[in-house]
């Protein structure tokens, strides 16, 4: 991972301008680092070439793990470790295990996905993530290019791209 990134970014006032700019960047074969928006913009993911998230697969795996944990643990407790007769039912009473199995499936799935998501995104308590501009959490839409080692000519090309697509501001920042 790089120690720092030099970033050139442009701010747009609404999402239609942003979408048009992303389309133009694709046509010009510019290498977008990332796009930031205050809310999810429909249709942006396929334009950026982002593939479908695989987070839900981890969700399924965690859920299945929760199902097995709950069911096998209860089976072990009630048949081997500490068998007690409840309400005249057999030791192994599968229907009585179902509600807890369900709960643990949901719990494992939810917590597992949150932890995975936070780990992948580098989020979590005590982590500070640099923001390019505070206004992109409010009302601005941003396209950012990484410019480590770029020549002036290449940077000018990017700047002219921003001015031609109607960016309201263009700034640089090192993060």
């Amino acid at each position: 991972m790089k120690e720092y990134q030099e970033v050139l970014y442009g701010l747009y006032d609404d999402e239609t301008e942003l979408m048009d700019a992303v389309r133009k960047a694709n046509a010009d074969h510019l290498d977008i680092m990332d796009v930031y928006s205050p809310f999810p913009v429909h249709g942006l993911d396929p334009l950026l070439g982002l593939s479908e998230s695989r987070l839900h697969i981890t969700g399924f795996v965690y859920g299945a793990l929760g199902t097995l944990t709950a069911f096998l643990f209860m089976t072990w407790v009630f048949t081997r470790d500490w068998p007690i007769i409840f309400g005249g039912k057999p030791y192994f009473s599968a229907p009585a295990f179902i509600p807890i199995t369900f709960e643990l499936t949901v719990l494992f799935s939810a917590i597992g996905m949150v932890v995975t998501f936070y780990t992948i995104c580098g989020l979590g308590p005590g982590v500070t993530n640099p923001t390019l501009d505070d206004r992109i959490t409010d009302d601005k839409f941003c396209i950012a290019f990484e410019t480590n080692g770029y020549s002036d000519e290449e940077i000018n090309k990017l700047k002219s791209f921003f001015s031609s697509t109607g960016a309201s501001e263009v700034n640089t920042k090192t993060i």
Partner: protein, 421 residues
Amino acid sequence: MNQFTFEGKEKSVLIGGMVLGVVCLALSFFMDGSPHAGEIHSRFWTNFLHNTVFFTGIAFVSLFAICAAISAYAGWYAVIKRIWEAYSLFLIVGIVLMLVIIAGIWGHFHHIYHWAGEGVTTIGSDNYDKVIDGKSGFLNPTFYTLATVGFLGLWYFAFARPIRSMSITEDKSGTADYAIHRKIKIYAATFLPIAAFSSCAVIWLWMMSIEPHWYSTMYAWYTTASWFVSALALTILTIIYLKSRGLLEDVTDEHVHDLGKLLFAFSVFWTYLWFSQFMLIWYANIGEETTYFKTRRDEYPVLFFGNLIINFLLPFLILMRNDTKRKFGTVGFVSALVLFGHWWDFFYMIKPGVLKELVHAEGAHGPLPSVAGFDYPHLIELGVFIGFLSLFLYFVFHQMTKASLRPERDPYYAESIHHHS
């Protein structure tokens, strides 16, 4: 192309299906091993009741779905509205079919309902049953007739038909003040509470009263959930068929995706109700309640576990992924599966109960005899299913020819076309 035309080929296929159904019904009339088959023909009558209730319920739930969507200001469903409207009109056929059952009660042609038997509520009679006598204010032929005809008639004449005709009038209205839509909204909002209460009453009468000593407060919910899944599955299959004919251009995989999500969600909801009903009864272990599940689990394991596999496990695992809800192949396969599965569910609810009441009325106890047509769906039962399905589709296709499949003047139509799920 938005105007459905009922092709001759389709008519021949569906009429062929209906003939098959009639033949199979006739076969079940004669090939019957249940007690007193020669007099009460239980296999025939249970097949008839089973399929009548199943398809009438699909019609009812379609009307409920339209009304719920309108009341919720939903937009996405407008492109498929005409399918549900056509389904809901099948209620009139449901009335006619239920009248046959009612005639059977009054004439003692069948013994589906033990509470309608002779002497069951007469003190001093050999057949006297104190429990049923206590419920006879509700379980009597007069109330059965009034509730069935009254509620079905109310649903059809006061709601299904007016909503359909207003919706067609809306197509021709040139104004943009949405006056007709506002009027439909009043009908829809009125129908919802009426439907919730009246459907419970008829479900208790039609199906739960087959075992009059047993009761469950979840039964009506459970049955309605089953109907809802069936209606969604049939809707998806109809859309796939109509699209293969080049109709319904505005229905995209986004709409099918939403229906697939509903199919997934309501399959899980059905399972939730199934399990809640089962577990409370299993846990409390009160004899008069457990008899329902004990009979079914111990003597009909194919019905009992097959029901859960087809209606929960398979749709749950197949529809879990995003893309299986969007691809017509997979979502169509699951729809066909759960449509059959919920028909199976109704079989599971009706058939063992009728046989049990017949056997117990003789004073016999212990395990039930294995009787063809009551243990699991035989070919004759499947033939009857195909017959009723053909009747349903014939009626629905006939209704579809009467209006454009594109309700262009619906205020939500534009929103529905651009729906993105």
